[in-house]
């Protein structure tokens, strides 16, 4: 097997993302243990996380509502492979959850005892958010969602 010369190179780039007013308000909701969504004045759909514009009607959404932190599992994927710079350490389950009161799916994690969980996961499973004690205004203020007993 021929040995080819390679150059290792790591690019590190720091970023500061400006959240803007809508995302900041959503994050402030997280800080208070609430999931805030906004409602489109035209199509009346509720989006969570809150968005700057309704993705279908392209209008600003100034009406805010508190959405339940419970919902049903729509789909999921179990991951145990790690890659360089993984934001969340495997094993973990990413999931799309339809929260009660929302008209779109919420992307987050299913957590707890994953070995046990693997048997329980199915479409339509009722799940509820498990919040971190310490909240920072970050999506992971919700640690994960777990099946409702």
């Amino acid at each position: 097997m021929k040995d080819f010369k390679t150059l290792p190179n790591v690019i590190r780039l720091p970023h500061k993302y400006g959240a803007g007013p809508v995302v900041t308000k959503f994050y402030n909701g997280l800080r208070e243990g609430k999931l805030l969504g906004n409602v489109c004045p035209k199509c009346r759909k509720t989006f969570v996380p809150a968005r700057s514009l309704c993705p279908e009607c392209l209008v600003k959404m100034d009406t805010w509502v508190e959405v339940s932190d419970q919902g049903v599992l729509v789909s999921w994927a179990y991951t145990d492979k790690e890659f360089f710079g993984s934001p969340v350490k495997p094993p973990f389950v990413t999931a799309l959850i339809k929260l009660d009161g929302a008209d779109c799916n919420f992307l987050h994690l299913i957590g707890g005892d994953l070995f046990e969980l693997k048997k329980k996961l199915k479409k339509g499973l009722k799940v509820k958010a498990v919040w971190n004690m310490e909240k920072k205004g970050h999506m992971l203020d919700i640690k994960y969602f777990e099946p409702v007993a």
């Binding site: 010369k5 290792p8 690019i11 590190r12 780039l13 720091p14 970023h15 500061k16 959240a19």
Partner: protein, 158 residues
């Protein structure tokens, strides 16, 4: 100055780190193997007869493959240079340093590298001393890794 809007919105900080492993390929491996034994290799295009350095397998103007690798002179003249003293995140070379385009004798393209072997702490001195057209010669690193910095820098012949 244009007024910056007063803001109290969140700013999310993050650092992306992405690892790469880049293949050299046959031609560049040959160039860097040349550096290991203190040779600077160029290539001569059969079409335009230009000698290009670093060596390459393809003439970008004639669109022809080049198979003629030749050893080029290790001395030449400064075509242009700049002294860098400021620093930014992730800069590959720590300032102060002089980046320069050097026309090695007998070649038809300019070679980008460092000018060194002089005191860089006084910018005025550097500006008085380093001039376009000045002759320079290579200074090799004792330790060779098959890397562009196997050439430590080019020293002015004062």
């Amino acid at each position: 100055m244009a007024e910056e809007k007063k803001v109290d919105y969140d700013v999310v900080t993050d650092e992306v780190a992405i690892p790469y492993e880049l293949a050299y390929g046959e031609t560049w491996t040959r160039f860097f193997d040349g550096l290991k034994v203190e040779k600077i290799l160029g290539s001569r295009c059969k079409g335009c007869q230009r000698v290009l350095v670093p060596a390459r397998s393809y003439c970008p103007r004639c669109f022809e493959e080049i198979h003629d690798f030749i050893e080029v002179s290790q001395e030449g003249v400064i075509v242009s240079w700049v002294l860098t003293e400021y620093e930014y995140f992730g800069m590959p070379t720590k300032p102060p340093f002089i980046g320069a385009l050097i026309r090695l004798d007998g070649t038809d393209s300019n070679f980008l590298h460092l000018i060194g072997g002089i005191d860089l702490s006084d910018a005025e001195y550097v500006r008085r001393t380093i001039k376009n057209g000045m002759r320079v010669t290579v200074v090799w690193n004792a330790e060779k890794k098959g890397h562009i910095l196997d050439i430590k820098y080019f020293k002015p012949l004062l």
